[in-house]
């Protein structure tokens, strides 16, 4: 067993390795993850270093013959990295809460023992930071959600959730960039372009950018 204050390192078959930082889901931890990603992406045999939420996936160009050196390097780097503060840009996203796409707004409110207006105002209050990209092209995981509107992921993921869905999954929130399967609960939607493969950088947002949701409308 790994001590609770030590990182957890586990294999994803022979394709990748997952590093999970100990501690809370917050910006200081995430800044260390960004720093670790910048370091590890330069190591030999590593194809990409992909930040998640206080964790990091390393995909292998070639699977290492043995993993001990890599695991040691990760642990040592985690202990020594300075936090990397990325000064991103701030964008404002108008959101229609509720309605057909945001049909889980009511169930989130019921689950959390709050009114619909409370859920909306709590969700729209913080300045969120893009912690990581993942899931599907251009999707951003956001840090900064108020834990009062936490709702566990679905028992069974939906086969199709709409593009632009503003959703809650566990203690996280995010906006989907295109339609597809999802285990999260959609509480609203936005129409903003997050991804275009013809852009020099295909994703509109990057870790460190910030988002403020503006309440455009609440459909009950």
């Amino acid at each position: 067993m790994t001590a609770p204050d030590r990182p957890r390192i586990s294999l994803l078959g022979t394709s990748a390795l997952l590093f999970e930082a100990p501690g809370t889901f917050d910006l200081p931890h995430q800044r260390r993850i960004w720093a670790l990603a910048a370091t590890a992406s330069k190591w030999p045999d590593i194809r990409e270093a992909i930040p998640g939420i206080t964790n990091l996936m390393l995909t292998f160009e070639t699977p290492p013959r043995q993993l001990d050196d890599l695991i040691t390097a990760l642990n040592e780097s985690w202990d020594s990295v300075e936090s990397l503060a990325i000064g991103g840009r701030e964008i404002r996203l108008p959101v229609t809460y509720g309605g057909e796409i945001g049909s889980s707004l009511r169930s989130v409110a019921d689950h959390c023992g709050l009114s619909i207006d409370d859920v909306v105002s709590i969700h729209a209050a913080p300045l969120y930071t893009v912690f990581a990209l993942g899931s599907h092209p251009g999707y951003c995981y956001l840090g900064g959600m108020d834990p009062r509107i936490t709702m566990p992921r679905r028992q069974t993921p939906l086969q199709r959730s709409a593009g632009g869905s503003v959703s809650i999954g566990g203690s996280q929130t995010g906006v989907s960039a295109s339609p597809g399967p999802s285990g999260w609960h959609a509480i609203g939607h936005t129409s903003w372009r997050f991804f275009d493969p013809s852009w020099p950088t295909p994703a509109a947002l990057a870790p460190g950018d910030t988002i403020r949701f503006e309440i455009k409308q609440v459909v009950r």
Binding site: A16, E20, L67
Partner: protein
Amino acid sequence: MIEILSVTGPASIQDLGRFDQYRFGVGTSGAMDDVALRAGNILLGNDENAAGIEIPMMPFSLRFGRDMAFALTGAGVEAEIAGRAVPPWWRSHARAADILNIKAMPHGARLYLAVSGGVDVPIVLGSRSTQFRGEFGGLNGRPLQVGDILPCATSTATIGELGVEPADITLARPNTAADETIVRVIVAGEYDGFDADTQALFWSSSWKITPQSNRYGYRLQGPAVKPKAPIEKRSHGIVPGVIQIPPNGQPIIQMRDAQTSGGYPKIATVIRADLWRLGQARLGSKLRFEQTAYTDALAAEAEMSAYLERLRANVRLVEETRTCR
């Protein structure tokens, strides 16, 4: 060029995949049976990453716009062109206006049509593979439709019929019952979150591949496998082969079009050397998992590489012999 005359189900253009765009949320896509696509390209003397057509359902037919060598690999196949049969894992030659009729797939789940020089759709973010979720790559980021015209690179590759031994014969796994696929897996981060009985149930069960299975993921049906206590992970990167356990206890194997991250607990990951076997497992068939160690998984990859190296050597030898005559 090639014109699609009939298509059943989501056929798509795929190469080996898009492997270095995870940081933008872009998954690998690529052939579900990469070994078969490589074999087809080897038969034709193509770059092994050349794009071909992945065909998951029959019937399927197309017309060749000019003389061209092609190969069919992957699933078993009943196909004919200009009145003659085309066997599986076989290279053949089409004349301009010939129609290739692919009628049935007696075993396996995906057939690959490779053409001399490869299907020449634009490279997007480093690959020609279709990215369905992002709607790019392949032909306009979508499945093939009747009437589609596919550009093909010009090639001077040698012509002549030639077959190779299918991967499912050479790389057959021992003790595999008919209509059952066994894949090797390495345990993943949350394996210890399941008690010993549940772990045993995961290994001993014969899992049914449900009809809700596709290039995104295989949803399995069997006894509920649930962790000791509910596990809600922070979102993290995942790769094709990862087996997630959602709260209903029914495993989902992430496949080539899977999301690049997730948060359901992971019990194990199918090793890279066995992903192609999943690509050939049919809906409704049975699946079993066999635990393997990291070093054994690397050995399995080496075995797969050795098979492909033999194909390359054999094809080279045949071409050299022909040139000498």
